[in-house]
């Protein structure tokens, strides 16, 4: 009888023991790339596609989360070609800008002052010397021929966002 009485007591003890399950966490140095806003081309004039809001486009925004400062550099390359488009018989001239916009720490403004631009202005490199989150705003414009009208159809262009360990 005493043994039978012990069973619920033991069961209750087991439940109490089961409630204390540890949750382990580990923070390691890493860079996370997030495609925040995919972007969209506006078509303000017949010969132009642009992601600028003034041109009816949507600016692509890429978010970088940096856990540890000075471990990575961000490299963002804007399009110099369409990855898919209707047949184009003339050349397309591309212009672009990449800037650090919203940032979790005001000291991240150093990303913009110290950025390096190369590859005819299509690649921008930022030294991620501060930890936190930063949103990079990318504008991209494509102009077709000499005032020539883009053929109708779907146009897709690719932005390459990289995080390179230093």
């Amino acid at each position: 009888m005493k043994k039978l009485l012990l069973i619920p007591i033991l069961a209750a003890t087991a439940n109490v023991a089961g409630a204390s399950i540890p949750i382990n966490g580990f923070i390691e140095s890493k860079c996370v790339i997030q495609s925040d806003t995919p972007g969209m081309f506006g078509n303000p004039t017949v010969d132009k596609l642009s992601t600028k809001s003034a041109d009816g486009g949507v600016m692509p925004i890429i978010r970088y989360d940096i856990v540890t400062a000075s471990k990575y550099k961000a490299v963002i390359t804007t399009p110099t070609d369409f990855s898919s488009s209707p047949n184009l018989s003339d050349s397309v001239e591309w212009t672009s800008t990449t800037v650090a916009g919203q940032m979790s720490d005001s000291e991240m403004s150093v990303f913009n002052t110290d950025k390096a631009i190369y590859n005819n202005g299509h690649t921008t490199e930022f030294d991620l010397v501060k930890a936190g989150s930063v949103w990079f705003n990318v504008t991209s414009e494509a102009e077709y021929g000499y005032g020539k009208a883009f053929p109708s159809g779907n146009y897709t262009a690719l932005i390459v966002a990289e995080c390179i360990a230093k």
């Binding site: 081309f41 936190g132 390459v160």
Partner: protein, 123 residues
């Protein structure tokens, strides 16, 4: 604000994120003689991406020969995959960067799309 960012990182509050860790992998001895390995973790939180390409480069970004189970890794949304990179011969000496790059299918036709690449550095 920093606390908020940290909380977001800990809770995985990303909508379209790509992670590739560790930042500085170390080459270790594998079960095969003369072959070294590095263990990497790929996490896909990009709903529109189902494949990542794996590549190894030297200091000057020349490709380095390596072996792994899949050089194009099929991965589902919110899935974590453990990837082992095997290097041999000059690859052990020359390899500097291990990179994962999102592969975008032709069926993804958003007007502007982002390809993400994260490179870890062998030290």
């Amino acid at each position: 604000m920093r606390l908020l960012v940290l909380l977001l990182l800990l809770t995985g509050g990303y909508a379209n994120a790509h992670q590739f860790t560790p930042t500085y992998p170390k080459l270790e001895i594998s079960h095969m003689p003369g072959i070294m390995k590095a263990d990497m973790v790929l996490f896909n939180d990009r709903a529109e991406i189902n494949y990542y390409g794996i590549n190894v480069f030297d200091e000057k970004w020349n490709p380095v020969r390596f072996a792994t189970q899949n050089k194009i890794v099929p991965i589902n949304y919110k899935e974590r995959k453990y990837i082992t990179i095997y290097l041999s011969g000059t690859g052990i000496k020359n390899a500097k960067y291990i990179c994962s790059k999102s592969k975008i299918l032709m069926t993804v036709t958003k007007p502007s799309i982002v390809s993400s690449r994260i490179c870890s550095k062998l030290k």
